[in-house]
């Protein structure tokens, strides 16, 4: 359990949110030209690392807005929160 600072509503408890997986995965421009392996790579393969990860989250039980979080998966420390479409503040 941890606290997330929603960029719209402020500090809320994690149970109000849902995780939406890894962020910044772009859809291939020409899906029809990809092989099945490349398509599967885009569709299913996620890094799922232990350490700092870029993630999408949604405030389901609040404002219902999506945003990005940079979270350390080993200790749940959130390093940055930024809105959809914005560049990550930390590389």
């Amino acid at each position: 359990m941890f606290i997330i600072h929603c960029p719209y509503c402020g500090e809320r408890e994690q149970s109000e949110f849902k995780a939406g997986g890894e962020a910044h995965i772009s859809r291939p421009k020409q899906p029809s030209e990809l092989s099945d392996d490349q398509w599967a790579e885009y569709l299913f393969m996620r890094k799922n690392i232990k350490g700092v990860q870029y993630e999408r989250w949604v405030h389901t039980h609040g404002c219902r807005k999506w945003f990005n979080i940079i979270r350390d998966t080993s200790n749940d420390q959130i390093q940055a929160v930024y809105k959809m479409g914005e560049k990550p503040p930390i590389k």
């Binding site: 719209y8 509503c9 402020g10 500090e11 809320r12 408890e13 149970s15 109000e16 039980h61 609040g62 404002c63 219902r64 807005k65």
Partner: protein
């Protein structure tokens, strides 16, 4: 409203806490992003939609709650006529907002149930089932929050010192009311 059967029929009272449903109250969800949308609402209702997160604004007849950067709930302060489910305000907004593609108006009168809570033990009750930190909320009249209470989505507005309005989806309202009574009986 025609053939309205309310899900909560009782008023309950405990030491420092009173619960009752208020109905029928007109409730509208308005959504829009454009600047013209905000000014059109302001002009047609004489009501400014709150810009600041987790706040509300109020006129004699209406209250607007901030729900999200592009979503608000407007409800009537007074109960409406039982024999009628046609609302002037909805018609005005439909004409000015929906028909001109500025935003969306949805009538959620029957979707949400308004439960009014009074007393100095309101927040003791909420603390038994909500992850939200009510410390700032309870001291600021007009605060609004969308959160979870007993795993149910609710919208809570601080209307007065020791008085709150709670909106819950109709299908959850009976269960939430019985949970609140259960919880209030052991405060």
């Amino acid at each position: 409203m025609l053939n309205y059967s309310n899900p909560i029929t009782e008023q309950k009272s405990y030491s420092g806490l009173q619960l009752k449903e208020i109905n029928p109250i007109m409730k509208l969800i308005v959504r829009g992003k454009k600047r013209e949308f905000l000014s059109a609402i302001g002009q047609s209702l004489n009501l400014l939609l709150p810009n600041e997160p987790n706040t509300s604004t109020r006129t004699d007849k209406l209250t607007a709650l901030w729900l999200s950067p592009d979503e608000w709930m407007i409800y009537s302060n007074e109960t409406s006529n039982l024999d009628n489910n046609d609302y002037d305000i909805e018609n005005i907004l439909n004409k000015k907002i929906s028909k001109t593609n500025l935003g969306a108006i949805t009538n959620v009168t029957d979707q949400f149930v308004l439960i009014n809570l009074k007393g100095d033990k309101i927040y003791d009750l909420f603390e038994t089932g909500s992850p939200f930190n009510f410390n700032k909320f309870r001291n600021k009249v007009g605060s609004v929050t969308q959160t979870i209470l007993a795993k149910i989505d609710v919208i809570i507005q601080n209307t007065n010192q020791n008085e709150v309005n709670l909106f819950v989806r109709r299908s959850f309202s009976q269960h939430l009311f019985s949970w609140m009574n259960d919880s209030a009986s052991r405060l």
